[in-house]
């Protein structure tokens, strides 16, 4: 079982994971109602849809799926009065290595998702929504389907929700083992029954030309759950938990070489790497030192533990000044991590200690991307395979002097040259592992004596 701290660490503030981690908390409607369930939906249905969108904007909620796009801005692209059908597709394809939060929401608290979804649908004039769940969560699909039946039978979904005249149909749609379907336009193609090749943007922004070429909101499971809590707490209180550009709490999934891996729900920007790893997660395994951290899912650029990063902060006179900061003292919010060249992504933090070989770790990720490239764009299809073959050869003792430069060159020629962000996702690990740990790649390339 994924460990959860009980009671929560003082740095935590659980809103999404408040109830579902409790012993005996069941995924049924009765339990949910006993914990105040669907009260926020009732309140939301008494608001104007535009007020809900404004609240989500004011809450500074960023998408929790990886890209971190401001949720309210995304919703703002939907014109409620355009007379077209609108759709919401909940992205429960959770497949980014290092990320394992949506699994628990789907299995343990499906009504939280459905309540957030009903509020989101009301706010965007949506009458039909799909929850896309990866097929490796077969129990989750059944649990969510059962929750949909319960909610429908009790007037929280279906026709004339809570007597307000608002209708919403929700269905579960299962994936079939392809990581690319987590990319929002690929997910829509998958849902349309086609090969899930991502669509090119522009013009195919989902909010304009989404599912069935109609305006569509695609949001991550956790993001949709946060909407409920923005209504429950009010946008101002919700936003106050986080930083000005990154409101609310974020579930951090920590795995790898820490004493206490698990899921920790922490206000955005409330912990540094040092606090998360050495305090919340109980430090490393005995006798080990920290080597590297992948901060936001496997696509996020790796950080080196002994590096001093330059970050721009507001000085005492209000002007931006550059400051040297050890990696461990970097605050884990969206804008800070972006400013040091990586990302908070999906919240998947993979910790690696000094026992780890960086060529081995990169090779593992390169194999992942080579296996998962959908094959639509040549640079990604060929490049991800070349990179994985090269790191595999280096690991097997067949490194060549030109390997590091060739790896860098391949990665540099994928990013920015593909239809979807998978191109960046598969390049960033290679680019960052080579940049942060050049000595290990030189050694594997047989260049140890010259460096």
């Amino acid at each position: 079982m994924t460990p959860f701290l009980s009671p929560p660490h003082p740095k935590e503030r659980r809103i999404i994971f408040e109830h579902l981690v409790k012993p005996g908390y069941a995924p049924d409607l009765e339990t949910y109602l006993a914990h105040g369930g669907y009260a926020s939906l009732k309140n939301a249905l008494a608001m104007k849809p535009s007020e809900i969108v404004d609240a989500v904007k004011a809450a500074n909620l960023r998408g929790r799926g990886g890209a971190g796009f401001p949720c309210g801005t995304k919703w703002g692209f939907i014109n409620r009065e355009d007379g077209k059908p609108h759709y919401i597709v909940v992205n429960g394809d959770e497949s980014e290595p290092g990320t394992f939060k949506d699994r628990h929401i789907l299995h343990r608290d499906p009504h939280q998702l459905l309540e957030g979804l009903a509020i989101s649908a009301f706010a965007t004039s949506t009458r039909l929504a799909y929850i896309y769940i990866r097929c490796e969560f077969p129990h989750a699909a059944r649990i969510v389907e059962n929750a949909i039946r319960e909610a429908r039978a009790n007037g929280f979904l279906g026709k004339n929700i809570l007597g307000t005249g608002f209708d919403l149909d929700v269905h579960v749609h299962q994936g079939a083992g392809a990581y690319i379907c987590g990319e929002e336009t690929s997910l829509l193609e998958s849902l349309e029954g086609k090969r899930p090749y991502p669509r090119i943007k522009p013009p195919y922004f989902p909010a304009v030309l989404g599912l069935y070429m109609k305006p569509t909101i695609v949001n991550n499971v956790e993001t949709i759950c946060h909407v409920k809590h923005i209504i429950r707490l009010g946008a101002a209180e919700y936003a106050r938990m986080g930083t000005p550009g990154d409101g609310g709490t974020r579930t951090m999934c920590v795995s790898g070489d820490v004493a206490r891996p698990g899921i920790f729900e922490i206000p955005c920007g409330a912990v540094t790497f040092r606090e998360l790893i050495f305090d919340v997660c109980g430090g490393l395994k005995p006798g080990r030192t920290l080597k590297a951290v992948i901060p936001g899912g496997s696509s996020a650029k790796v950080m080196r533990a002994d590096e001093i990063y330059k970050i721009r902060v507001k000085g005492s006179d209000g002007a931006m000044v550059e400051k040297d900061l050890p990696m461990l003292d970097i605050v884990m919010d969206a804008s800070t991590l972006q400013s040091v060249g990586t990302m908070v992504g999906s919240g998947g933090v993979i910790v690696m200690d000094d026992s780890r070989d960086m060529v081995w770790a990169l090779n593992n990720l390169n194999q992942f991307y080579a296996n998962e490239s959908c094959g639509q764009c040549t640079p990604c299809r060929e490049g991800s395979l070349w990179m994985s073959k090269m790191t595999a050869r280096m690991l097997a003792g067949g490194g060549r002097a030109e390997d590091p430069e060739n790896l860098r060159s391949i990665a540099d020629n994928i990013a920015g040259r593909t239809i979807c962000a998978f191109g960046e996702a598969c390049s960033w690990p290679t680019q960052s592992f080579l940049a942060k740990f050049p000595e290990e790649f030189d050694k594997a390339a047989g260049k140890a004596e010259t460096t």
Binding site: M1, T2, P3, P85, E94, S95, E96, P97, G98, T99, F100, D102, R103, L128, R134, C135, E136, F137, P138, H139, H171, H173, Q174, G175, A176, G177, A178, Y179, S190, L191, E192, G193, K194, R195, P196, Y212, C253, V254, S255, G256, D257, P261, G262, I263, I294, S298, G348, I350, M352, R356, A361, N364, L365, Q367, F368, N371, E372, C374
Partner: protein, 178 residues
């Protein structure tokens, strides 16, 4: 534990199966084609794999040509055109599980289940390596989203977590008993 593949009865679509398929199609009022994936799941769960009969049947139900369905079977890793073992063991290969020893765990599963990891053909649409008695298939899959309880495996429908190499033989032994 649910058995993933049942006996092959591709010539026998029952009224209950048909009713289930129709209910699935009704969830997609805008486009029947959207029911492609769920019907593929329904077929593979029922018959163990998606052969030409299944591809043609689904295409026909949805008003598509067979290639519209075949191109999904050959894209998605989950679908196969030939039957797998009665119990399919999918060991997570990706970083956190690999760091926690998933390679050794997978080897142990192959040993205990009598699966030659190099047996059979490889590629999309093929069945994973399967034991001679047809009871087990073992394969590596990518991240199963349970990295804090690594290493993990999906055994038919159930996630098994924190697997120690020394646990594997007894896990397989339990799966052998009906």
């Amino acid at each position: 534990m649910m058995s993933e593949s049942t006996t092959r009865q591709t010539d026998h679509v029952t009224p209950a199966f048909l009713a289930e398929a129709d209910e699935i199609v009704s969830r997609y009022p805008v486009s029947r084609r959207s029911a492609s994936l769920p019907l593929l799941h329904l077929w593979q769960n029922r018959f163990g794999s998606v052969d030409d009969t299944g591809i043609e049947w689904i295409a026909d139900r949805l008003g598509l040509t067979p290639v519209n369905i075949l191109e999904l079977v050959t894209f998605y890793p989950w679908f196969r055109r030939e039957p797998a073992g009665r119990t399919v063991i999918r060991v997570c290969r990706t970083l956190a599980c690999a760091m926690a020893g998933s390679h050794e765990v997978k080897e142990k599963f192959c040993e205990a289940a009598g699966v030659d990891p190099h047996a059979g053909h490889h590629g999309y649409g093929c069945a994973p390596p399967t034991s001679a008695d047809g009871k087990f298939s073992v394969e590596f899959v990518e991240c199963l989203a349970s990295c804090a309880s690594a290493p993990v495996a999906l055994i038919n429908d159930d996630l098994v977590e924190n697997i120690k190499p020394s646990d594997v033989a007894s896990i397989v032994e339990k799966l052998k008993s009906p």
